[in-house]
């Protein structure tokens, strides 16, 4: 397998509803990434689109709808999709296009327009369940995640305020992000604890918002990358893993599928001790407790230790192990697949020293990004190195 480098990235504003069509959003992100890399459409060998259910944009086969905005007309093109895991899985698919040798330069575009699903995209989530066992009770994702969060808190005896700290940290980190939807430099733990209860223990400010947005990433074989950049950032490892759809029969306190995906990625990257070797991480944080569970799934700490590290300030941008320096989904927004912008593009921006106000001050050399999806079962992981 060939080594794969990242040579450019782009990201649109993330907002509850943007006027641009999905293809217009794709164009804006793609154009930014191309300008960052200094390449043109003719230089692209292949294009990979990541976008979550068609039900969000309301266009069946939306991969085909989006492609002209993704510089894919008359190119080899494929759309990949595994729910919330897509934002990291799409660049993994881009990686295998280049690592295998079938492409020298591959563009990865991720798009989501959740605002089209009106009045609220939660209605689309109601149809991902088993039609006989789950759907007749009219459950929704927040109720299910509330049970998972409750289980996590019970097993480790975690206080709600230690989870709320994650929302506070990420919304404050997002203040430095030019695309951010919900940055808040004054938010406090009390604000989170006093927000409306949606399904105990989940409160309004524990949850990231639905969003419109797009992001793009340009991958290149390492040898060719030197034509465009002096010291290319490389993809050192990738991993993905999915747990049983019988979620009712699993203990949800620990995401073992994330651990499996992380082990696969670490093995490829030659990482024996992730706690020591990884400088920062972008775990998936659609809910504040998920950042903590995912830090544990990524083997960055012991089970139940993530809330303690957060309380001690270790996960702050200037801490020993910065977590979600981008501002994450909680602060920047959650256009499902397009969160590649926080989970993968951010690794590139941090490692290349291009993160601006969000730059981690300690000169990071290696970072890990992760996404999570389907019915509490999909883990996708990427490791990048300078």
């Amino acid at each position: 397998m060939r080594k794969v480098a990242v040579i450019g990235a782009g990201m649109t504003l993330f907002r509850r509803i943007l006027q641009e069509t999905g293809k217009e959003l794709s164009f804006l992100a793609t154009k930014m990434a191309m300008e960052d890399a200094g390449i043109e459409k003719k230089d692209l060998d292949m294009v990979i689109m990541g976008s979550a259910p068609d039900a969000f944009d309301g266009i069946h086969l939306k991969g085909e709808n989006l492609l002209d905005g993704a510089a894919a007309a008359n190119k080899p093109y494929v759309r990949v999709f595994n729910g919330g895991g897509t934002g990291v899985f799409a660049p993994i698919a881009g990686w295998w296009h280049v690592a295998s040798g079938v492409a020298d330069v591959a563009l990865v575009v991720c798009e989501e327009k959740m605002g089209s699903c009106f009045p609220h995209p939660q209605t689309a989530f109601r149809h991902i369940w088993d039609p006989f066992l789950d759907r007749p009770l009219n459950t929704n994702l927040v109720w299910l995640f509330a049970m998972e969060m409750n289980r996590y808190m019970t097993v480790h005896n975690i206080k709600k305020e230690d989870i709320a700290r994650v929302a506070v940290k990420n919304k404050r980190n997002a203040v430095g992000h030019p695309c951010a939807q919900l940055p808040d430099e004054n938010i406090t733990i009390d604000d989170v604890l006093n927000s409306e209860v949606v399904a105990w223990p989940v409160q309004r400010l524990d949850i990231s918002p639905p969003s419109d947005g797009a992001s793009a990433l340009i991958l290149c074989s390492e040898e060719k990358a030197k034509k465009y950049v002096e010291d290319p950032i490389t993809i050192a490892g990738v991993g993905w893993n999915i747990d049983s759809t019988m979620w009712t029969n699993r203990d949800l306190y620990f995401p073992r599928y994330v651990a499996n995906a992380a082990k696969m990625a670490y093995k490829m990257a030659g990482i024996d001790n992730p706690r020591k070797e990884i400088d920062f991480a972008e775990p998936y944080d659609p809910f504040d407790y998920k950042e903590l569970q995912h830090m544990e799934g990524l083997l960055l700490c012991d089970k139940g230790e993530a809330p303690i590290l957060t309380r001690e300030g270790v996960t702050q941008r200037d801490g020993n192990l910065p977590i979600c320096p981008s501002g994450g989904l909680l602060g920047v927004g959650n256009p499902i697949a397009a969160t590649m912008g926080q989970k993968v593009c951010e690794l590139y921006w941090q490692l290349a020293g291009k993160a601006g106000k969000r730059q981690i001050p300690t000169d990071p050399q290696i970072g890990v990004g992760q996404a999570w999806g389907d019915i509490m079962q999909m883990g996708t992981v990427i490791v990048m190195k300078r």
């Binding site: 641009e20 069509t21 164009f27 191309m34 459409k41 039609p131 759907r135 007749p136």
Partner: protein, 159 residues
């Protein structure tokens, strides 16, 4: 395997009835907004021209899909709401398998002065004639009835 081909009542096995709720608010986008706002007040269309390859996009686009460049403001221009029939068919059965009261002519109209086409209903006295290449013009709703959607174009007819 249980084969059901001899079942006359598919609801006789255990089942649960559901639907996939899906309600949408589709925004026309940045280029679409401009196109439809113009159509509400004018009897002409808008198109855009790529500054690099000169391809004329109709309906107008913000970008050229080939050169992958943005199309600037000054490359927007008016074109007549007329064109030539590029493709057509005469439909007699609808999506539900029902016979239409009258055959419906549906075609792609290549809009004059552009490289783009629009799907439209073609009104003609003789639906079985050879229509390919025939020049047609759009018949629009009265201006005070327009809503800024494709439905503002009632149909295309021979000039």
């Amino acid at each position: 395997m249980t084969f059901l081909e001899k079942q006359t009542d598919p609801t006789s096995p255990m089942h649960w009835r559901g639907n996939m709720q899906a309600d949408y608010l589709y925004l026309s986008g940045v280029a679409g907004d401009k196109f439809f706002k113009h159509l509400m007040k004018n009897d002409t269309f808008l198109a855009t021209k790529c500054p690099e390859c000169n391809k004329v996009f109709f309906p107008p686009r913000l970008y050229c899909e080939d050169c992958f460049c943005e199309i600037p403001e000054e490359k927007w221009f008016e074109v007549p709401s007329k064109g030539s029939i590029k493709l057509f068919t005469i439909a007699t059965i609808d999506s539900y398998g029902k016979k239409l009261k009258e055959p419906k002519v549906i075609g792609l109209i290549n809009i004059d002065q552009t490289d783009g086409s629009l799907l439209g209903v073609i009104k003609t006295d003789k639906p079985d004639e050879e229509l390919q290449g025939v020049h047609v013009e759009a018949v629009l709703k009265p201006k005070d009835k327009r809503e800024g959607t494709l439905k503002d174009i009632l149909y295309f007819k021979k000039k």
